[in-house]
C-alpha cells in the first residue's frame, strides 16, 4: 500500500475542461476546505468514455468509464505543475467503494452517489443512461462524491479509498479481501431491531423521523419541479412557431415585412433560450437530489444505532434471565414458569450432579454475558458519540449547501427573467417598426 503523500509526477499536464465542465465543477465547492486527504491531494473526475466489454454472463455490453485524476498538492505548490496520475473506474466500482465505507463506518453519514438511473425526468430530458447530458451530470456527481469523502475527517483516512484513487488494478480484490460484505447487517436483522428496540436515544429517533421527512419532501419537490420544467419548455417552444409564421407572413407584406421578419428572429431566440435555462436548473435539481439520497444515509446511521441498542438490550436481558436461572437453580425456588420446572414437578427433579453441571455452565455464560454487555455498552456509547458528532457535521453541511443551492436557484431565475426582458424588448422594437 503506497504511502499517502509520496506521490509525485514529473510531466506537466494541461487542463482540458470544457466550459460546461468548469461550470459544473464550480458547483462542487460544497466541501469543507482544509481537511485531510484533500489537503494533500487534488482529485477530479475529468472525463467519461464509452467502453465495450463482456459482463458477468459473458455478453457484450457498453458501459461508461470515468477518469479519476489525482495530483499531489505539495508538488503543485512547489511550482512543479506535474501531470496528474489517472485511472479509469466505472460506476459499479464507485458503488462497491461506497458499500465498503457504509459497512466499515456505520456511524458516518456517508455521502451518496449520483443516481444510478435518471429519475424525475421531464419529457425532453433523456432517461437514457448513455445520453451525454446524463453522463456529464454523473461525472460531476462522482467527482462531488470523491471530494466529499476525501474531505471527511474520518473517511478520508481510509486505505481502501486511497487505493481506489491511485491504483487501477487489483483494487476489487483488495476491497473484497477486507470481507466487508460479510460484515454487512442483514436487512431482516436491521428491521426487526427497529421494531423491537425499547430505549433508543431520543435524538436518534427524532433524526430518523427527520430523515424520512427530508426524503419525502425533497422527492415531492423534485417531482413537481420536473413537471414545471416540462411545462415551461412547452411554453417557450411554441413561441418558435411565431418565428416561422412571422417569417412567412413578412414575405406578403410591404410596410410590415421588416418588422415582422426581425420579430420572428427574436421569437426563435426566445424559444431556443429555454434549453440553457433548463440545463442550468438540472444542476439545481442535482443538488437537491444529493440531499434526497443523503436522507437515506442519515436514516441508515439511525437504524444502526437502533440495532446496536437492540443488541445491547438483548444482551442485557439475556444476562438477566441467565442470572435468574442461576438463582432458581441455586435456591430451588421457581420464580418463573418454565416447562423444565413443570416437568421437574411432574417427573421429579434432576440429580444433584446434573444441577451442578447446569450451574457451572450458567456461571460461565453469565461471565461471558457480562463481558458481552460491557462490550455492547461501550460499543453503543461510542457509536452514539461518533454518530452524533457526524450527524451534527452533516446538519451544518446540509444547511450550508442547501442555502447556497437556494441562492443559486434565485440567481438562475433572475437570469431567466433578464433574458426574457431582453428578448421581448427587442421584439417590441421590431413591432414598432411594423
Amino acid at each position: 500500500m503506497a504511502d499517502a503523500g509520496n506521490k509525485e509526477s514529473a510531466t506537466i499536464g494541461g487542463d482540458e475542461f470544457t466550459n460546461t465542465e468548469l461550470e459544473n465543477n464550480k458547483n462542487n465547492t460544497m466541501v469543507q476546505e482544509g481537511s485531510t486527504l484533500l489537503r494533500r491531494m487534488e482529485i477530479s473526475v475529468a472525463e467519461a468514455e464509452k467502453r465495450t466489454g463482456k459482463n458477468t454472463v459473458n455478453m457484450q455490453e457498453i458501459f461508461t468509464v470515468y477518469l479519476i485524476e489525482t495530483r499531489s498538492i505539495d508538488a503543485i505548490t512547489e511550482g512543479h505543475n506535474p501531470a496528474p496520475d489517472s485511472l479509469w473506474r466505472r460506476y459499479s466500482e464507485f458503488e462497491i467503494l461506497r458499500n465498503y465505507l457504509l459497512v466499515t463506518y456505520p456511524f458516518i453519514v456517508v455521502p451518496p452517489l449520483p443516481e444510478k438511473r435518471a429519475e424525475f425526468v421531464w419529457h425532453k430530458l433523456s432517461a437514457d443512461n448513455m445520453d451525454p447530458d446524463f453522463v456529464e451530470r454523473r461525472r460531476v456527481g462522482l467527482e462531488n462524491f470523491l471530494l466529499r469523502v476525501a474531505s471527511h475527517s474520518v473517511l478520508s483516512n481510509d486505505k481502501i479509498l486511497y487505493h481506489f484513487l491511485t491504483e487501477e488494478h487489483r483494487w476489487k480484490e483488495v476491497v473484497y479481501e477486507t470481507g466487508f460484505q460479510a460484515k454487512a447487517d442483514s436487512r431482516i436483522k436491521a428491521l426487526s431491531a427497529t421494531f423491537r428496540v425499547k430505549n433508543p436515544d431520543k435524538r436518534f429517533t427524532e433524526m430518523k423521523h427527520y430523515s424520512d421527512e427530508l426524503q419525502s419532501l425533497t422527492s415531492q419537490l423534485l417531482r413537481v419541479r420536473a413537471r414545471v420544467a416540462d411545462r415551461l419548455y412547452g411554453v417557450y417552444k411554441v413561441h418558435g412557431n411565431y418565428g416561422r409564421v412571422f417569417s412567412e407572413w413578412s414575405a406578403l407584406e410591404k410596410e410590415m415585412g421588416d418588422g415582422l421578419q426581425s420579430a420572428g428572429h427574436h421569437m426563435d431566440a426566445y424559444a431556443a433560450s429555454v434549453d440553457d435555462i433548463l440545463e442550468e436548473e438540472e444542476h439545481y435539481a442535482d443538488q437537491l437530489k444529493e440531499y434526497l439520497f443523503y436522507a437515506e444515509a442519515l436514516r441508515a446511521v439511525c437504524r444502526k444505532h437502533e440495532l446496536t441498542q437492540y443488541e445491547l438490550e438483548m444482551a442485557s436481558s439475556d444476562l438477566i434471565s441467565k442470572k435468574q436461572q442461576r438463582e432458581e437453580l441455586a435456591t430451588g425456588m421457581v420464580r418463573t414458569f418454565s416447562f423444565k420446572g413443570m416437568t421437574n414437578k411432574l417427573f421429579g427433579q434432576e440429580t444433584p450432579e446434573q444441577r451442578e453441571a447446569k450451574l457451572s455452565l450458567l456461571e460461565e455464560q453469565i461471565v461471558q454475558g457480562e463481558e458481552t454487555v460491557t462490550e455492547k455498552t461501550v460499543e453503543c456509547e461510542e457509536y452514539v458519540k461518533g454518530a452524533w458528532v457526524d450527524m451534527q457535521r452533516f446538519k451544518e453541511q446540509k444547511d450550508r449547501d442547501l442555502r447556497e443551492a437556494l441562492i443559486g436557484y434565485a440567481i438562475m431565475q433572475i437570469s431567466m427573467c433578464k433574458k426574457g426582458i431582453q428578448v421581448w424588448t427587442n421584439a417590441k422594437e421590431c413591432f414598432h417598426k411594423m
Binding site: 427527520y210 442555502r403 441562492i407
Partner: protein, 467 residues
C-alpha cells in the same frame, strides 16, 4: 383638412371637434346643409341615406372621398356597447347590450341615444350594410356560436368577449366614411326596440331577396373571365393572409393553453417549499422565502395569460374572420363582373342572331302558318333590335355597377390594410410590452429575495473557489 363627409354634415365645424361632445347641441344652419347638398340633385333627395336602394355609383364616389387620416380630431360620433343584460321571455332567453351613441352629425335628430340591442339586431345591420355595399369591407361580427376551444366559460368571458367585439364592430362602421352614412346604421343606433322591428319589416321582400341569391349563385357558378390584375393580386394576398393569420391564431391559443398548464404546475410548486420549511430550522426562513417568490410569480403569470387572452387572442380571431369577409367581398365583386360579362355575351349572341339569316323555329312555324316570310323576317329584326337596345341599357347600368364596385373595393382595400396593420401592430406591441413587464416584475421578486439572503457581497465570490 377635414374629411369631405364632415363638410357635408357639419359645415360650421371643421377641424375643431372636441373630444367630449356630450351636451353639445347641433347648431347647424339648415340652409348651409342644403347648399352643399344641392350640388347633386340625387343627394338633395336624400337618396344617399336610403340604403335599401342601390345607390347611384357616381354620386357616392364624388361625395365620399376616402381620406388618408381618420384621427380622433375629426371624429364626430362616439359609440359604446356595454351593460349586457339577460332577458327572459316565454319562448327564449337572450342577452341585450346597451348601445350608447353621442354624435354631432346632422342626420341625427338628437345628440345622444341610448338603446338596447341584441345580437340578432347586429346581424341584421351587418346584412343590410353588405347588401347595400357589396364590395365594401364590413368589419366582422363575433361568431354566432362558441367556437370550440376559443372561449372556455360560457357566461362571463363569452359575453364580455362578445361585447367587446360588438363595440369594435359598431365603431369600425362609424369610422367608415361610406358605411357610417347608412340609414340602416342610423336607425340601428337611434330607434327604440319597437321602431326597429317595424323598420326591419320594410325593404325588399322575401321573394326579391331570393331572386338576388339565385342570381348570385348563378353568377358565381358562371365565374369571371377577365379579372383585372390588381384584383388577382388582392385575391392571392387574401389567400395567403388568411393562412398566416389562422396560423397565428392557433399558435397564440396554443401559447395560452401551455401557459395555463404551466401556471397550474407552478401553483403546486411553491407549497412544496413551504411544506419543507416546516421540517427545517436554519433553512425554514429561506425556504419560505422561495415559496413566497414562486407564489408572487404565479400571480404575475396569471395576469400575463389574462392579458394575452384579452388583447391578442381576440384581435387575431377578428382578423381570421376578416379574411373570410375579404374572400366574400372579392367573390361578390367577381359576381358583379361575371353578370356584366354574361350580359355582354348575350348581347354579342343577339347581335349575331340579328345579323344572320338563320332559320329559327319561329320563322319556320310562321311560314307553316302561312305568314308572309318578308314580314316575318322584318318582325323578327324589329324584335331583336328591341331586345338589343334593352340589353345595351342593362349593360350600361351593369358597367357602371362594375366600375363602382371596383372603385369601392379599391378604396376600401387600402383603408382595410391600414386598419389591419394598425390593429395587429398595436396588439403585438401590447403583448410584447406586457411580457417585458411580466419579466421585470418577476425579476424584482427574485432580486428582493436575493438581497435578503446576502449578508455580505463577498459570499458570491466564495462560489468561484474550487478545492
Amino acid at each position: 383638412m377635414s374629411r369631405t363627409i364632415d363638410a357635408v354634415v357639419s359645415p360650421t365645424q371643421t377641424n375643431t371637434i372636441p373630444a367630449d361632445i356630450s351636451g353639445q347641441m347641433l347648431d347647424l344652419d339648415e340652409d348651409d346643409d342644403l347648399e352643399v347638398f344641392s350640388k347633386d340633385s340625387t343627394l338633395a333627395e336624400g337618396s344617399m341615406f336610403n340604403a335599401s336602394m342601390q345607390t347611384s355609383p357616381g354620386s357616392m364616389v364624388n361625395q365620399c372621398k376616402f381620406e388618408e387620416d381618420e384621427e380622433g380630431d375629426s371624429k364626430d360620433i362616439f359609440i359604446t356597447v356595454d351593460n349586457p343584460e339577460s332577458h327572459v321571455t316565454a319562448i327564449e332567453t337572450f342577452i341585450t347590450y346597451r348601445v350608447l351613441t353621442k354624435t354631432t352629425r346632422s342626420e341625427f335628430d338628437n345628440s345622444e341615444y341610448e338603446v338596447r340591442r341584441r345580437y340578432q339586431d347586429f346581424l341584421w345591420l351587418k346584412g343590410k350594410l353588405e347588401e347595400a355595399h357589396s364590395t365594401l369591407i364590413v368589419h366582422p361580427l363575433p361568431e354566432k356560436f362558441v367556437v370550440k376551444g376559443m372561449v372556455e366559460r360560457f357566461n362571463g368571458d363569452f359575453i364580455e368577449t362578445r361585447r367587446k367585439a360588438l363595440h369594435k364592430f359598431l365603431n369600425r362602421i362609424a369610422d367608415h366614411p361610406i358605411l357610417s352614412c347608412s340609414e340602416d346604421f342610423k336607425v340601428f343606433l337611434s330607434a327604440q326596440a319597437w321602431e326597429l322591428t317595424t323598420y326591419k319589416k320594410q325593404g325588399p321582400g322575401f321573394l326579391s331577396r331570393m331572386g338576388e341569391t339565385v342570381r348570385a349563385v348563378a353568377n358565381s357558378v358562371r365565374g369571371v373571365k377577365n379579372r383585372p390584375e390588381e384584383f388577382n393580386a388582392i385575391q392571392e394576398y387574401v389567400e395567403d393572409f388568411s393562412n398566416k393569420i389562422s396560423s397565428l391564431d392557433k399558435v397564440t391559443q396554443r401559447i395560452v393553453k401551455e401557459q395555463k398548464e404551466y401556471l397550474e404546475e407552478l401553483k403546486e410548486y411553491g407549497p412544496t417549499y413551504t411544506l419543507w420549511s416546516g421540517s427545517e430550522e436554519e433553512l425554514a426562513e429561506q425556504l419560505k422565502g422561495v415559496a413566497g417568490c414562486i407564489e408572487r410569480c404565479c400571480k404575475e403569470t396569471e395576469e400575463q395569460v389574462g392579458h394575452l387572452s384579452d388583447t391578442l387572442v381576440p384581435v387575431l380571431h377578428e382578423y381570421v374572420l376578416c379574411a373570410e369577409t375579404l374572400k366574400a367581398v372579392l367573390r361578390r365583386r367577381d359576381n358583379i363582373q361575371a353578370e356584366f360579362e354574361a350580359k355582354n355575351e348575350a348581347l354579342a349572341t343577339k347581335k349575331v342572331d340579328r345579323d344572320t339569316e338563320s332559320s329559327d323555329l319561329g320563322f319556320v312555324w310562321g311560314s307553316l302558318l302561312g305568314k308572309n316570310p318578308e314580314e316575318a323576317r322584318h318582325q323578327r329584326q324589329e324584335r331583336l333590335d328591341g331586345e338589343i337596345e334593352e340589353l345595351k341599357e342593362e349593360i350600361d347600368k351593369l358597367e357602371d355597377r362594375v366600375e363602382w364596385a371596383n372603385n369601392a373595393l379599391k378604396g376600401d382595400w387600402g383603408r382595410w390594410q391600414r386598419s389591419m396593420r394598425g390593429d395587429l401592430k398595436s396588439a403585438f406591441l401590447s403583448t410584447a410590452e406586457k411580457n417585458v413587464d411580466y419579466y421585470e416584475k418577476c425579476l424584482a421578486v427574485w432580486e428582493t429575495f436575493l438581497l435578503s439572503q446576502r449578508t455580505e457581497p463577498s459570499e458570491e465570490t466564495d462560489r468561484d473557489n474550487t478545492p
